[in-house]
Structure formats: C-alpha cells, structure tokens
Symmetry: C2
Subunit: 390 residues, 2 copies
C-alpha cells in the first residue's frame, strides 16, 4: 500500500478477521462499520454525537457532493473531513450506484455515464477520469473506482458486460488517480454468478488495489444469495488487503459477512430505520410506535451508553408520536451506537478466539425480537439499505 | 415564597436587575432566558446540547402535554424534568394562550374554556382548577395561572372583561393549587391600557403570588407599545418577586425589557428562526441561505462556544440547501447559545454597574446586521414569537 496507508490482520478465526486499517487521518479497527454521511452529514446527528457512537470512519457520496455543494466548495473548505468537522478517516463512494439509481435519462457507454441531475435536471457526465478528479478534490482518505451497476436479476450477458466494463473502468481509474494521500479501492462486480465474480476479482488483483470492495449486493437478492456470493468471491481477494462489502446491511448480515471474511461495511439502515422509529437491540428490533412502549421507563437497551438510552422508551415514543425531530435524532444515535457495538463485539470475539460462539449468540439474540417486527410498512428487510447513500 | 423557593435581587442599575431564582431543582441567575420545550423537547436539540447552550431552566406547555402524551404519562415518568432528561428547573405555561390560539370551537365562560383539540378534535375542558391539577401532575417547579387571552387590538371593554376574568381565575388557581414543591405565578393582563394593567397587577398582588408574569404582549403590538406597557406595569409589581415577560422576544426586545425591570423570558424565536436558517449574532442577523456564505469558512460568530460554530458558515448553508436536518439543528443550537450569552452579558453588566453602556452597545451591534435582513419571507419581527409554544 502507498505511504500513510496500511492494513494489518491482527487475528483470524476461520475466515473471520480482526484487523487495523491505517490511513493518513488515523487508524481504525476492523471489522469496521462506516456510518453514511451522504451529503457530508450523518442525517440529523451532529458530528460530536457521531463520534460518541464509537464510529471511526465515515462514508460520503461523490455523486451527491458533486451536485451539491460541488467538489470545489468541499476542497476549499479543507476537504471532506474538515468540511463536516470530522477528525478521522473518510471514504467516498464514486457515485456509480447513485448515477444508475437516482439520476434521470442515464446513457452509458464505454467512456462513462451521461445523465441529468436528480436535483435540477442539469446535464452531468461521470467518467472514470473525472470521478477520480472529483473524489480527489473532495479529499477523502479512500476513494472508490467508478463502476457500471446494473439491476438484478438480469441476463448473464448484461451482468458480464457491466462487470467487464467495470474492470476496464477500474484500470482507467487506477491510471487517472494521482492523489498520493488517498487510497483507491477496486470494486468486484458480477452479480450472483460465481464465475463472473471470480473473473472480476482476478481482474482487479491484476490491476492491483490497496483494498477491494464487493459491490452489487444488498439490492434485494436476499441474505442467502448474498452470503453465497461472498463465499465464492472472498477467496479470490488477497488476504493482506481490506475487504469492503458495500451497502450492507442488517445486523445479522454483518455477522454473517464477517464470518465470510469481510472487514468493512457501510449502510444507511441504522439512521434510516431510526428515522422510522425502528430501533435495533441485541435482543431484536423494537418498534417504538407500538403502544406497549407508551409508559415504559426502560431505555431502548440496558447498558447502551448512547444518549437516547438515558431516556425511557416512553419518552422517545412520545417524540415520534408528536412528530418531534428529536425522536428520529435519538433513534438514529441509538442505532448507530448499536452498529458500532456490534462490530466491536465481533472484533473482540475474533481476538479472543471465540468468534463462532459469539456469532451464534448474537444471531440468536438479534432474531429474538422478531415477534415485534410484525408486517407493518416500516419493516425494512435485507437489501433495502442500498449502497452508500440516503 | 414557599419553602424551597426564593428570589434575590443581587444588583440593580436603574430598573434593571440581576437576581437569583432558587427552586427545589436548582437555582438560576436572572435575567433568565428559558428555551421553549413545548412538548417536552426543545425542537431538534438533545437535552445534553440544550444544557451546553448555557440554559438553566426550560419551559413546557401544559396544553400540549395534556393532549399528548397526557399528564399521567409525564407524572408516571417522574415528572416533566425527568421525562425529558433535564436536571434543572422547569416551568409550565398553563395553556391559556394555546387554547385561544390553537384549539377549535372554543367556548369560554366564567367556569373555564371548552374546546376541541387541535390534534384530533376531541372535546377538552380547561378550568382554573383542572389547569392546576394538570400542571401539578406534569410537575414543573413553576406553574402558571390559567388566564383569559383575547386578541389585540380589541375593544377596551373586551380587554377589561378578559383581564378581570383572569383575575378571578387567578384567585381560583391560587385556591386550587396544592403542590408544595411547585410555585404558582400570576399573569398580568390588560392589553396596552395602562389603567387596566395597573388594576390587574394590583389585583394579583392582593391575591399574592411568589412571582408575576406579564402576558398578552409580543402579539403584534410592536416594540414601542410593548416597552411602554412594561413601563406602566412593572412599577406595580413587588420588587422582591421575579417578573416574567411571557413569549418575548427579539434580542433587542430582551435588552429593552431588562432595562424595564424584567427578570425572566421565554421565546420560540431562537429555535424557530434557527429552523428557518436565520441566525443571531452580536453583530446582527445572518441569513444562511444567502449565496455570500457559500464558501465562507468563518463560524456564525467568532468566539461563540457552540458546536455549530466549529463549522464554517459554508457548511451550515450547504446543510440547509441540501434539506439536511442537521442544518436546523445546528442553527437552533447556535441561536439558543446566543440568547444565553445575551442574558449573561446583561446580567454581568448589571453586576458591574455598566448596564446602560452595555445595553447601548448591544443594541448598536444587534442592529448592525440589519442590511442582511432584507425583506424576504423568513423575516420574523417582534411579536411573531408568540407566547410559550411552538
């Protein structure tokens, strides 16, 4: 890896790893969960409170920041971290996924993606080269290659074409990327096809990246297919580089992915669910609008150090029912804290050589509250998070 | 005053006073500005951040809490302060103003006000007696009498009738109020009429209260009329009791009211304006959506200790333009901090015997930024705050 960056595997158990990722703006332990700060803010949570959740690294989105406020403004403010007042490492997604999911009138060819902004309809071009330039100016510690994302399920030929184009774009990104204090990660594509995933991973290794992401998952394929795809992809990635599963996921998906050898995650679920009054605990999900919580003096989770858990459930429920902004804020803070505690427990378990038992216990607890989930409209299943922006 | 409560005037300069209000849940310096936590939350600001603004005492609204979540829920949670996680004194407005401004199909007679909830249309009755019972169960340190509020301008006879009914209700509240660890304040009414205000103040003094509020102002009468009314009212209030000007106001109104002998304030303006991207500084108002702030690295106010001021103006502007919740949150925190710093400066000036010069300097600074105000829709003048809820 380039100067200022390193990745060390501190311990392993089976495929699961505990590691340390070092960047010019600090080091973070892995497994790592990055809260999503799409537009340079974790929705509703001030940056001090974000730090208090235990987060070590944040993810922002180059597509959104390019459209608003523009990478020049972020650069002039001293880069992404300083712009949002964050004193740790950051990562930007290239925006490929957002172009293909949010933008209008998207036309893609070998050169890049040409589309209209979802904000004002103005024409925008994203190419591997200008994606690098944009991300360099935004100035996160880690940038992501631009990739070609296609919806799943899809014809194998379409998935294969997009994967191979993504490989060619990976090479162009690698050539265009010049910022020495920023690492560039490649992204494995290939849908649910083991052979395409293998080909993608091999192609990226040949180009050579300091880290490898797995993209195109958590888009509705279901947890079994996701884990199966990890199983056929991770073995083709180098053991001495961090592995980042983009846009995943539910707590149980994270446990399973760590068991498959993943080191890094990002997902909008903790804040998106929090805004919708759904909170995570190690004993399952809690739906705060449920009348049973109206006079419950207990915190969302006993022993949780977050500021939401200084209140009773009844108070936070009241905030949601009264339409008070503080409800979503507190539930987001709790969920973000939960995710950090989850990955910390997974790391500690690997370090202590009891990952398998810990993962089993965690999964049993996470499923225990399933009776609270019901089938209401707020339920968000695996895949609803979607990669890297909210 | 009853056990556990006291009010001491620490220093005076002209009519201006610096004092100390002691309650069972702690003492607070005056002049005092109480942030408004209508539904047991200062909108968008977690309670730890509220404390960090320098706030010593919070105001909530009995009308709103009675409708949702109900005083029983607040009582069972340990009372208002514990319900919202606040470790200092609190005050509840009786809800009289809200009944007359928010409720539907209001019928008022000597017994009380009968109306339909603005939330679900259900029938509600507010009488002096049940207002006391509701506020006792909510459990703030200070409760307010129920009063009859009429819109201004209005016929003198209507204003006089409402004032005299408010006096009779004051006596009934005084008789009905039984909670020994809660103080009950009377409210002077009488519109802009000096004789009616004098009559109201004299009537309340005869009943005897540990503190006196001035109601019915900041409802569109303009700053000159408000200050004139204070001038003819304050002299009729006892010097050894706290004087509370309800629902006021703009920073310059607070400076003028302190000069008139007022000790306590509440107002929705800091948070309401903050949500609308208008921020206060000692050099005038700043409209964050203004393009001039797009790349301004300066904080909202140099030397301000609030967490918003760790960011550049450009960042907070970006949050507003991107529709991010954190924009309103940070601007609210800044404005609440500004109000606390304002009353602290006024207090320090009285204690140091330089109130007159300080007030003059503050007013000059507050008006200095007027060129930024423009005439856009966000402008909020004196009186737009309205009493005691948002």
């Amino acid at each position: 890896m380039q100067p200022g960056f390193s990745f060390t595997v501190d311990a392993t158990e089976g495929a699961a790893r505990a590691g340390t990722l070092v960047t010019p703006r600090g080091s973070v332990p892995t497994p790592l969960f990055m809260p999503v700060a799409t537009a340079a803010t974790v929705k509703g949570v001030d940056i001090g409170r974000v730090r208090e959740t235990g987060a070590g690294m944040l993810l922002a989105n180059a597509y959104h920041l390019h459209l608003r406020p523009g990478e020049e403004t972020v650069e002039q403010a001293g880069g992404l971290a300083r712009f949002m007042g964050w004193d740790g490492p950051t990562l930007t997604d290239s925006g490929g996924f957002q172009v293909f999911s949010l933008a209008r009138q998207v036309r893609v060819d070998e050169d890049g993606a040409f589309f209209r902004s979802h904000l004002d309809g103005s024409p925008v071009a994203f190419t591997p080269e200008n994606s690098m330039r944009i991300q360099e100016r935004i100035g996160a510690d880690i940038a992501m290659q631009m990739d070609h994302v296609v919806p799943l399920p899809n014809d194998r030929a379409v998935v294969a074409d997009a994967m191979r184009r993504s490989l060619r774009w990976a090479a162009r990104c690698r050539s265009a990327h010049a910022r020495p204090d920023q690492a560039l990660f490649g992204i494995v594509q290939g849908g649910l096809d083991p052979e395409l995933r293998r080909e993608s991973a091999a192609g990226l290794r040949e180009i050579g990246f300091p880290g490898y992401a797995i993209g195109g998952l958590s888009v509705g394929e279901g947890p079994e297919a996701m884990i199966a795809t990890l199983g056929v992809t991770v073995p083709h990635l180098p053991a001495d580089r961090p592995r980042y599963l983009m846009g995943v996921g539910q707590p149980r998906d994270i446990v399973a992915a760590v068991a498959s050898g993943i080191d890094m995650f990002d997902c909008v679920l903790p804040s998106r669910c929090g805004r919708n009054s759904l909170v995570y605990t190690f004993a399952g999900q809690v739906r705060l609008r449920n009348a049973r919580h109206a006079r419950d003096p207990r915190p969302l989770e006993e022993g949780c150090p977050c500021i939401a858990c200084r209140h009773g459930r009844g108070y936070i429920r009241h905030l949601f029912l009264a339409g008070e902004m503080l409800g979503p804020v507190l539930a987001s803070i709790h969920n973000l804290t939960f995710y950090q505690r989850l990955v910390a427990r997974l790391r500690d378990a690997v370090l202590a050589g009891r990952f398998e038992a810990t993962a089993r216990d965690l999964l049993a607890g996470l499923d225990a509250g399933a009776e609270e989930s019901g089938d209401d409209a707020e339920a968000l299943g695996p895949g609803d998070g979607g990669p890297a922006s909210e």
